[in-house]
Amino acid sequence: MSADLQDKYKKIYRYCYLRVKNRETAEDITQETFLRFIEHPEYKGLDKELQLLYTIAGNLCLDHFRSQSPDELPEDIPDRSADGDKLVDDISLHDALNKLPPEDRELILLRYINNEPLSVMSAIYGISRFALSRKLKRILSALRNELGKEGTV
């Protein structure tokens, strides 16, 4: 159960980090998410665990933005210590990702980094799995176009 919880923690953390761009804030929100989750009346509904976790995390991220002053810049500056051609590819893909709308980046994160199934994602976003599948294809196609070459993604 601990390993399962760790996996969920990391998924929710990544989801929050993508939104708030700050490690500490993302961890705080993640922890708050889990605390609220176990107190939630639907806690017993284990088959809807992930959907509930993402929903709580999303709401907490929104609350965080509302409470922030406009002058704060929560960006973490990434440390690019990789070397060689991989760095070039990573930077290109990183830049291409940053050019996507935030919602599209989030979909890519949930699907390909967090490995969430379409059924969970469609419940979170309220659209059908087929529509979601089409959206993901479009996003990947946009990424490829941005990178300017086939096969990187």
């Binding site: 159960m1 601990s2 919880l5 760790q6 923690y9 990391k10 953390y13 990544r14 980090y17 993508l18 490690r23 993302a26 961890e27 993640t30 922890q31 889990f34 605390l35 176990i38 017993k44 284990l46 088959d47 973490d76 990434p78 990789a82 991989k86 590819d89 990573d90 893909l93 990183h94 291409a96 990702l97 890519i108 994160l109 390909y112 980094i113 199934p117 379409l118 059924s119 469609s122 659209i127 059908s128 799995r129 087929f130 529509a131 599948s133 089409r134 294809k137 990947l140 990187t152 993604v153």
Partner: protein, 413 residues
């Protein structure tokens, strides 16, 4: 996407590892364990085989009490689990340790009652029973007897009715010497299960073996495959912004101009559409684009085919469908009135499709592109699912079942 690509994506996202994961998880587990639900936590941590076996034993125990099975052992660990038993006019035997009284009342339709007193004795055998007085022929009453704590032996309830009872009610009374406790029914926490729902239908076309399940009741099964993309890029895309204007509103501003005259065309019949359509299919709307085709406002629906009934398209192919009418910026249409608004022309349609909608479409090929058009350009050529039937979106009242539609396609095509 292969692992190499996923790793590249992960690097590109550049999300730092969390620092407090393990520490937090430990605290969370401690917190969870100290909550007043030891039974549930323990139950959840048991191996699946034990959980299912325990659940089965408890179900048998409940059935046993109802059906008057003998000794039931209290496992101690689940002493808080409580069981329900039903009291009815049949005789059951139960000999608990303490005495209490059960009063049963039958309520035949004519509002007269026959009351019978029965004696039940047993351990903690006081029952709390819901009483509802019956009177009409349609009234029904369910009475339940709830027993707490250790349950041993059998109970005896004597019932007598003077009429064939349409309703029964039971009431418990407390003996002065007895201890009445009210049982609380508890729900056995379910084992962790994943529910997979699959709905399958008979298809009229002999299509590939990986036929999709009914998309109107989506299943958790991932889509079986992908089809060809035959969508077209519209010449222009319009957004909806600002205030919406219709022709009626603008004609008031136009002063002496006459209002537009409607066509007055009779909507096509279903058989007519079946006979003359190039494509008949069930599809999901992926994207709705407002555009202009050959100078006419058009709504382009990019759809994915869930089930082809007639025509040369396949499952999961994507096509573009043109419907008359749509939106365009007022800056192009009547900038003198409101350059920031949007003009809307219904084009004979009653609704605008949205992403995620499902329709049965009757389509003809567009003369100038790879797209298709609604049979008569309007939503008379679209059917939407409701309560087991498909209804014409435009007309509303015309309906057909899927099987009937398939049969008519087979007959007419």
């Amino acid at each position: 996407m292969n692992n190499k690509e996923r790793e590249a994506l992960e690097r590109a996202f550049d999300i730092p590892e969390p620092e407090k994961c393990n520490e937090f998880i430990e605290e969370l587990l401690k917190k969870e364990n100290t909550k007043k639900r030891p039974g549930i936590v323990l139950f959840q941590r048991m191996p699946a085989v034990l959980r299912y076996s325990l659940a089965a034993c408890l179900v048998i125990a409940v059935i046993g009490i109802i059906g008057n099975i003998g000794d039931l052992t209290d496992t101690g660990k689940y002493r808080k689990n409580e069981e329900t038993a039903s009291v009815n006019s049949e005789t059951t035997t139960y000999t608990p340790e303490e005495e209490s009284t059960i009063e049963t009342t039958s309520a035949p339709p004519q509002d007269s009652y026959t009351t019978t007193i029965s004696t039940v004795s047993g351990v903690n055998a006081n029952t709390t029973v819901t009483t509802v007085k019956g009177g009409g022929s349609k009234n029904t009453v369910t009475s339940t007897a709830k027993v707490t704590g250790k349950v041993r032996g059998t109970s005896t309830v004597h019932g007598r009715t003077t009429h064939p009872a349409r309703t029964t009610a039971a009431k418990t009374t407390k003996k002065p010497s007895g201890i009445v406790t009210t049982a609380k029914a508890t729900r056995i926490p379910p084992a962790r299960t994943t529910i997979v729902t699959t709905i399958t239908r008979n298809n009229v076309t002999t299509a590939a073996s990986d036929k999709p399940t009914d998309p109107l009741v989506p299943s958790v099964i991932e889509p079986a495959g992908t089809g060809g993309d035959h969508t077209v890029e519209p010449p222009v895309r319009y957004d909806i912004k600002g205030r919406i204007y219709t022709e009626d509103q603008l004609s008031n501003n136009k002063g002496t101009e006459d209002p537009p005259v409607t066509d007055g065309d009779v909507p096509p019949s279903l058989d007519n559409m079946i006979r003359h359509s190039d494509l008949i299919l069930l599809a999901e709307v992926d994207e709705v684009i407002f555009t202009k085709i050959n100078g006419k406002l058009t709504t382009q629906e990019n759809v994915t085919i869930m089930e082809p009934y007639y025509g040369d398209m396949n499952y999961y192919d994507r096509i573009s469908v043109y419907a008359d009418g749509g939106y365009m910026p007022m800056s192009e249409y009547r900038p003198d009135i409101d350059p920031n608004g949007t003009y809307y022309e219904p084009g004979g349609n009653t609704t605008i499709a949205k992403e995620g909608d499902y329709y049965i479409y009757f389509l003809v090929k567009d003369n100038n592109s790879e797209a298709y058009r609604l049979f008569d350009g309007t939503d008379n050529s679209k059917f939407v699912y409701r309560n087991g039937m498909y209804y014409c979106v435009g007309r509303g009242r015309d309906s057909v079942s899927l099987q009937e539609l398939r049969d008519r396609i087979n007959d007419l095509k």
